[in-house]
C-alpha cells in the first residue's frame, strides 16, 4: 500500500511538469499582454519596454518557462497585473471554491445516491421512470440556463435568497450556486447508481445474503449499495477536480470570487502567472483526487489489494 502510494506520487512529477509547460505555452501563444494594458491608446514604447522587462517577457519562451519554474520551486507564484501576489489570490479564491465544491459534492452524494438507490430497487415502476425522465431533462439543460433561471426565480421573483454571493461567501449563501453546479453531475450520479444497483441486485452474493435471512436494510446497505458504489465513487472523484476548475460559469452567474473568477480574469488579461499558477494547483487537485479514489476502491471492495 505505502509503496503503491509513493509510486503514484512519483508519477505525478512528469504530469505536473508537462501540464505546466503546456499551459504556459498556450498562454504565451495568445501574444503580448502589455499592449492591452494601455487600452485603446497606443502604448508608450519606453514604458511598455520597461513593463515587459519587469515581467520577464523580453526573454525567449524557454527562458521564461525556466525562470517561472525556478520561482515556483521557491514558493513564488509571481504577481498579477494589479500587483497582487498570485499566492494571495489563491489564498482568497481556493477556500471559496472549495466550499462551493463541498456543497455541490454533498448534494450529489446525498440526493444522487438516494434517488439512484430508490429507483434502482423499484426498476420499471413509476418512480423509476419519473426519475429517469427528470434526470434526462436536467442533463440536457446547460448550467447557464438553470443558473440564470433559478437565480431570477429564487433571487428576484420570490426573494428567497440573495441573487449574488458576498465576498466572504459563507456556506449559507453557497447553497443555491452549489445546487446549480451539482445539477448535471447529480443526474449522472443518480443514473450511474441506479444501473449499478439494478445490476447487482441479481448477483449471487445478494441472493445468498437474502437466503441467510439478513434484515432487508442490512442487505441493501452492507451488500448491495457498498458493492454498487465503485463506479459512482470513480465518477465523484474525477468530478471534484472538474467542479473546482469548471465552476467558471456558475461563479460568474452568482458573482463568486473563486478559482473560476481568477482564471477568467487571468485569461482575459493574459496574465500567465495567474493562469499557470491556478491550473497547476488544479492539476495537483485532480491527481490527488484520483489517487484517493483508487485507494477508496480497496475500502469498498476487499477483493482489491494494492501492493
Amino acid at each position: 500500500m505505502g509503496r503503491y502510494v509513493i509510486r503514484r506520487m512519483l508519477q505525478m512529477i512528469p504530469v505536473f511538469i508537462g501540464s505546466t509547460f503546456l499551459i504556459f505555452f498556450m498562454v504565451y501563444a495568445l501574444g503580448d499582454p502589455v499592449a492591452a494594458l494601455f487600452g485603446d491608446k497606443a502604448p508608450d514604447p519606453a514604458t511598455a519596454a520597461r513593463i515587459r522587462k519587469d515581467l520577464y517577457l523580453d526573454a525567449p519562451l524557454w527562458k521564461q518557462y525556466l525562470h517561472y519554474m525556478r520561482q515556483i520551486l521557491t514558493g513564488n507564484f509571481g504577481t498579477a497585473f494589479n500587483g497582487q501576489e498570485v499566492t494571495e489570490l489563491m489564498a482568497d479564491a481556493f477556500p471559496v471554491t472549495l466550499r462551493l465544491t463541498l456543497v455541490a459534492i454533498l448534494f450529489e452524494i446525498v440526493v444522487g445516491i438516494t434517488l439512484g438507490l430508490l429507483s434502482g430497487l423499484r426498476r420499471g415502476r413509476s418512480l423509476d421512470t419519473s426519475v429517469l425522465l427528470i434526470t434526462l431533462v436536467v442533463v440536457s439543460i446547460p448550467t447557464f440556463v438553470s443558473g440564470y433561471v433559478l437565480q431570477y426565480l429564487l433571487g428576484v421573483k420570490w426573494s428567497v435568497v440573495s441573487p449574488s454571493v458576498s465576498p466572504a461567501a459563507p456556506f449559507a449563501e453557497l447553497l443555491l450556486p452549489g445546487v446549480v453546479l451539482a445539477l448535471t453531475s447529480l443526474a449522472y450520479v443518480t443514473r450511474l447508481t441506479r444501473t449499478s444497483i439494478a445490476e447487482n441486485s441479481r448477483a449471487d452474493y445478494l441472493r445468498t445474503a437474502v437466503a441467510k435471512g439478513l434484515p432487508r436494510h442490512r442487505v441493501v446497505t452492507r451488500h448491495l449499495l457498498r458493492n454498487s458504489l465503485i463506479p459512482v465513487v470513480t465518477f465523484i472523484g474525477t468530478d471534484i477536480g472538474a467542479l473546482m476548475g469548471g465552476a467558471i460559469v456558475t461563479e460568474r452567474i452568482f458573482n463568486i470570487h473563486g478559482v473560476g473568477y481568477q482564471l477568467y480574469q487571468g485569461i482575459l488579461r493574459q496574465n500567465s502567472p495567474t493562469v499557470v499558477g491556478f491550473v497547476t494547483i488544479l492539476v495537483i487537485v485532480f491527481l490527488v483526487a484520483n489517487l484517493l479514489v483508487d485507494l477508496l476502491y480497496a475500502v469498498l471492495d476487499p477483493r482489491i489489494r494494492y501492493a
Binding site: T47, D92, G155
Partner: protein, 546 residues
Amino acid sequence: MPGPMPGRMRGTAALVACATGVALPALAGCGGGGAGNTAGVVRASWGDPQGPLEPANTNEVQGGKVLSMIFRGLKQYDPRTGEAQNMLAEKIDSADQQTFTITVKDGWMFSNGEKVTAKSFVDAWNYAARVENKQKNASFFQDIQGYDKVHPASGSASAKTMSGLVVKDERTFTVTLRTQFSTWPDTLGYAAYAPLPRAFFDDHANWIKKPVGNGPYMIDSYAKGSAMRLSRWDGYPGDDKAKNAGVELRVYTDNNTAYTDLQAGNLDIVDDIPSAQLKNVKNDLGDRYLNQPAGIIQTLVFPMYDANWSRPGKEKVRRGLSMAVNRDEITQQIYQKTRTPATDWTSPVLGEKGGYKAGLCGDACTYDPGRARKLIEEGGGLPGGKVTITSNVDTGSHRVWMDAVCNSINNALGNDKACTVSPVGTFADFRNQVSDQRMTSMFRSGWQMDYPLVQNFLQPLYYTGASSNYGKFSDAQFDRLVDEANAESDTEKAVGKFQDAEKILADQMPAIPLWYQNGSAGYSENIGGVELNPFSVPVYERITVK
C-alpha cells in the same frame, strides 16, 4: 516573495488593510463600513481595476471611478456641460500660450491632514513622467519641457525632474510647454494630473494598499478583487461635498448578475446595462434608467500605410464605403438607441461651443447605397475586390455590429462577398496587430476621450505621427490647422480651426465615423440625484440616499 501567511481569508484581509490604515497619520480611522447595509451608503457595481490605483497609472474606467471620488485636480469637468472649471486652481495665466503660471487655492488638504501645495503637483507630475516609474499615462506629460530627459525613447533617464516645471512659492508654480497649446489648462481635469501627498512617495507600498487623496471621499477598506468601501470625508474643503455617507463598490464579473442584484434590491446603481436587457430595461426601471451620450466614438480606420488604400483617388472608395453603412438601422436594431449615428469625428458631449458639429461629415456619413456604389467604382473599386473589418471579439459584442456593417456594405454593393469580418480572439492580440501595422483593410478603433476637448478627438488620432494615429494618416494641411488652433488664445477661434481641420477628414475619410457611444445606468428606488458625467461614470458625490 513566498507568502508568509497562507490561507488567509477575505474577512481578515479587510481587517488587516484597516489596521495598516490606522498606522498612517490618518485623521479618521476605520470605523466606517461594517455590515452590508450601512445607512446612507450607496451600493454600486464595480469592475476589478486592471492595475494599482496610482493616478498616472490608471487609464480605465473602473480605477477611474475611485480616482474621481478620492482626488480633485486643478480643474474639474462639469458633469452636465463637460466644461472645465477651476477646482484647486485659483488662476492659470499665460501670455504666450506656452508658459503657464498656476496658482493653487489656499486651504486645501489631503485627507491625512497634509496641505496641498504647488509642490504636491510638481512632485506628482515628475513622478508620473519618469520612465522608471512605468506609469501608463506618462505620455500625458510629453508636452512639458524636459519630458524627453526624464522619459527618453530608449535608455535611462538623464534627469530626475522636468525642466519645464518650476515651483515659485508654496502656492505658485510655472509650467513651460514644448510648443504652444492654448487649451492645455483645460486638460488638467484628467486624473493623471492629480496632486499627491508625501505618503505616496515615502511609503508607497502602504499608499497603494489604501490610497489617500484630497477628494470628497476617503477609502475605508480595499479588498482587491472584491470590494472597496469609501466614506464621506467631513473635512473636505471643496463645494462638491458628498451628499451620501459613503459608497460601497462591489466587483461584479458579469453585468447580468449586477443587473439581477439591482432588481432584487441588493444593489443601488449599475453603470453598465447588459445588452441582453436593453429591451426590458425601460419596463424594469422606468425613469430610473439613464441613457445619455458619453465621450466615446467608434470608427473604422483605413490602413493608410498600405498603398492600396492611400493611393490618390482612393478617397472616393473610402467615402463610398462610409456611405454604404446604414448607421440608423444598426444603432436601432442592435443597440436599441444606446448608440447615436455619428456625423462628425468628435462627440456630442463637447456641445456646440466645445466643437461638436452635427452633420460636419455631410453626405459622406449619410446612407446612400446608390452613390456609394458609384463612388467606389470611380475610385477604381475595392482593393483586390473586397474589404475586411478587423476587431477583437472577446468583449463589447463587436462581432454583432461588424456583421451588420458588412451586410450593409454587401447590400449596397450588390455583392455578397465584398465585405467579410475578420475576428481576432483577444484584445491584446488585436492591439499588437494594429501597432505592428499588419492591417490590410478596415479595422475598428474606439476612442474614449481623456478630457472634453475637441483637440483630444483630433490631434492624438489624425495628426502626423501622433501616438494613437493607427492608420498613419498624414496630411500637411490638417497638421497646420491643428498647430494654428493650438496657438490660438481665443477658444472660439481655436474651435473654428479644429473644425476646419475636421473638414479635411470629411474629404479624405481616413476613418469612417460609425456612432457615438452612450453611457447607461440604472438605479434603485433607494437613491436619487443620479447623473452620469461625460465619461459615463456616475457622479457619486451627488447621489442622495432615501
